[in-house]
């Protein structure tokens, strides 16, 4: 481990980068959208409500002291603030700036495209350890599919980035063309915490505290997981896998107990779900380890591992620069060397086919 708690040499599956402002994206946008951004005074909120500059989760105290509270917007910043310290084997960059709340599907598509071009130019071509999630419009499946078709062959992209909050659950049939396009290009899917604000994020009205919003990512991720299985996504796309990112994982075993039990009663409603839901989830999902939210003692942690059926679905992430105030290290300490290597490197490498990905070269 590094001085700041990074697992050295790991495949780190959730690192954040973001443009500092729309000015960073203007080179990748048409004249029309540049004018729109200016005239409409569009703010690059991205996930401002998710990581407000002063919020505890946004960055560690040390990072804040050094003026590093926002995600890096240049390669030099990424190197200085994270790569040099963590020395990862590979990194998956997540840029959440496309999670915005505006409803204009055409703008949303244009921004997603600009973000992907910006990420390629700014990061992927600079360092062959870097991989990235591919941004798509969260409000237009057609445009999302088109964007995957446009840049999905770039070996730097490993997965399609979806916000965990959505208008319709992601497993819905309206999204299946997007999954087809992803699989054709050997891309997986990431469900990342946060996403569209503007609607309440619980089934019971608007929350009023950040703590509720923060923790709501977990029940929402659970609902999305149900959808992928019940809508038969994995029957249609047997090679598709989903990385649940920054939504926790300790909730998984007990959800699957319920999901399996209920399926046993009402499978007739979804007869294409032929296997136990837990079997689909075990084959197709992985979850990142930040936040960890572990049991407070070793016994509980050992039990959690037992309930999970082992660490095979867990994939290490530092979630730089975010700070959840905890660490997965106590759980890793309980693992054999082989299992540890699984969580830190091998599971992610297999998930993303990292050995098969050519070293990045400029487009």
């Amino acid at each position: 481990m590094s001085a700041l708690g990074y697992q050295l040499g790991a495949v780190d599956c959730d690192i954040h980068v973001a443009p500092a402002a729309y000015s960073d994206l203007l080179p990748y946008l048409s004249d029309y959208w540049r004018q729109y951004i200016s005239e409409a005074a569009v703010r690059l909120t991205g996930v401002g409500h998710a990581y407000p500059p002063g919020a505890p989760v946004t960055a560690t105290a040390q990072a804040r002291e050094r003026g590093w509270a926002t995600p890096p917007s240049t390669y030099e910043q990424l190197a200085e603030r994270y790569l040099d310290e963590a020395q990862p084997g590979h990194v998956v960059l997540n840029c959440l700036a496309g999670f915005d709340t505006h409803r204009n599907p055409y703008f949303s598509a244009a921004v997603a495209g600009a973000l992907n071009d910006w990420v390629r130019e700014t990061f992927l071509r600079r360092d062959d350890r870097l991989r990235a999630s591919l941004s798509v419009s969260p409000v237009s499946p057609d445009d999302a599919t088109a964007e995957i078709e446009r840049v999905g062959d770039d070996p730097g992209f490993v997965q399609v980035l979806l916000p965990v909050r959505s208008d319709l659950p992601w497993g819905h049939k309206n999204n299946h063309a997007m999954f087809a396009a992803a699989r054709e290009r050997s891309l997986q899917v990431a469900l990342h915490a946060w996403g569209r604000a503007g609607r309440s994020l619980t089934p019971s009205g608007f929350t009023t505290t950040y703590l509720e919003d923060y923790l709501a990512n977990q029940p929402i991720a659970q609902a999305q997981m149900l959808s992928f299985v019940s809508e038969g996504v994995f029957e249609r796309f047997p090679d598709l896998r989903v990385m649940v990112t920054e939504c926790g994982f300790a909730w998984l075993p007990t959800l699957l107990w319920r999901f399996d039990k209920d399926w046993k009663g009402v499978w007739r409603e979804v007869p294409w779900v032929k296997d136990l839901p837990s079997e689909y989830v075990g084959r197709h999902f992985c979850l990142t380890t930040a936040p960890a939210h572990l049991p407070p003692e070793d016994t509980g942690r050992a039990q959690l591992l037992e309930m999970l059926g082992g660490p095979a679905m867990l994939v290490y992430a530092s979630d730089f620069p975010h700070d959840h105030g905890d660490s997965v290290a106590p759980l890793l300490d309980q693992l054999s060397a082989e299992d540890r290597a699984g969580v830190l490197q091998n599971t992610a490498a297999a998930f993303y086919g990292l050995d098969a990905v050519r070293t990045y070269t400029s487009p």
Binding site: S166, D167, P203, S204, A216, P219, L226, S230
Partner: protein
């Protein structure tokens, strides 16, 4: 004491409730019916119509759960129940005009009192309230407070605002002031806005176990348990195994964000220990039953679990079959009756056999 069933559904037909409505509300019902869309229409219950097929009474005008005699036969006598607590859900999704909501919930309680609570001394009721109109809800609670056969106040697990919101505090306060716990039961107007509306009853049903996580978070974060120090909440029909992971998350989040929550003087897990109970049905069934015991112990639930059958719903838990063998004798007794006896103030010992004519309202 052997068995206290903490979630039983007496179900009225509209004509049965209409009998207890005033003329204006009755006319509204006849003209427009119930205006709120029912989740049973969005998500038809894909197995057995959502109910035990054998629980349909052989009496004209009756439906599942409307006939006290059948309920007595199939539940109270069949399983030798000491007490059964009725939750009548007809008002949970009531988003009608407040005047109608008030009368509708009042009618639910009148129907309980007249049809059920006098019928068998083992039956107890829960006070249905117009929850979106707390002033009206408080009035209804105060009206029923002197009838000891009503043992709790009933809220739905989904409402217009999260259940920890200050809007609803008067309801918790009124319940606590008259010594009643608040039963928060799955259902209500479930507006799936986090991930969007699922397509299937399967997702909706599993979702019942997910929705309550947010509600518990709201109650903790909003400071309900400091605001109403004696409040007792019974999370009902949400399952139990998920609680531990939420406890860990709540405590971790609070560590990080304590400064945002000056009302909270203790960690969230402390408030759960002091204020929150859970009914067992639908009890989760891990492949390794000892994992269920892990989940119970990790969440400190030994004194907090209350057995429930959920009669007459299709996923009813049989009192003789539903608890896995791995649950030790002492824990089994707590779950089946002792925890509920302590919560509701029932005597720990079964009273001498009496006539089954019901307890009178005082």
């Amino acid at each position: 004491m052997k068995l206290i069933d903490c979630d039983v559904h007496a179900q009225a037909t509209e004509p049965m409730l209409a009998e207890h409505l005033g003329p204006w509300a009755r006319a509204q019902l006849e003209r427009y019916g119930r205006r709120t869309p029912r989740t049973t229409d969005w998500y038809p219950r894909a197995r057995n119509g959502g109910m035990r097929v054998d629980a349909w009474p052989d009496k004209p005008g009756h439906i599942w759960g409307s006939d006290p005699e059948l309920l007595r036969e199939q539940l109270l006598d069949e399983y030798d129940v000491d007490y059964a607590i009725l939750e009548v859900l007809s008002g949970q999704d009531c988003y009608d005009h407040p005047d109608f909501a008030r009368e509708w919930n009042h009618a639910i309680n009148e129907w309980q009192a007249e049809t059920w609570l006098g019928f068998d001394s083992r039956l107890r009721g829960t006070i249905a309230v117009a929850h979106e109109y707390p002033d009206l809800a408080v009035k209804e609670i105060e009206e029923r407070a002197d009838d000891p056969r009503f043992v709790a106040v009933l809220l739905p697990a989904s409402a217009a605002e999260p259940l920890g919101a200050p809007k609803y505090w008067p309801i918790y306060r009124a319940a606590t002031e008259c010594g009643r716990p608040v039963v928060v039961h799955t259902g209500g107007y479930v507006d799936h806005r986090g991930a969007g509306y699922p397509s299937f009853y399967l997702d909706y049903h599993v979702g019942n176990g997910i929705v309550t996580q947010g509600q518990l978070t709201s109650m903790v974060a909003g400071g309900l348990f400091e605001e109403v120090p004696g409040v007792r909440v019974v999370l009902t029909e949400s399952g139990v195994a998920w609680v531990a992971a939420l406890r860990w998350s709540l405590d971790a989040a609070w560590e990080l964000m304590r400064a945002d929550h000056p009302r909270l003087t203790r960690p969230p897990s402390h408030y759960l220990d002091e204020h929150v109970w859970f009914t067992t049905q639908p009890i989760e069934e891990p492949e390794d039953p000892s994992h269920l015991v892990y989940a119970i112990d990790q969440a400190h639930l030994r004194d907090k679990l209350l057995f429930a059958t959920d009669y007459p719903h299709w996923d009813f838990d049989s009192p003789t079959q539903a608890l896995p063998r791995v649950i030790d004798k002492e824990l089994r007794r707590k779950i089946l009756c002792e925890n509920a006896a302590d919560l509701y103030g029932f005597p720990r010992e079964r009273p001498e056999p009496a006539a089954t004519a019901g307890v009178q309202a005082s």
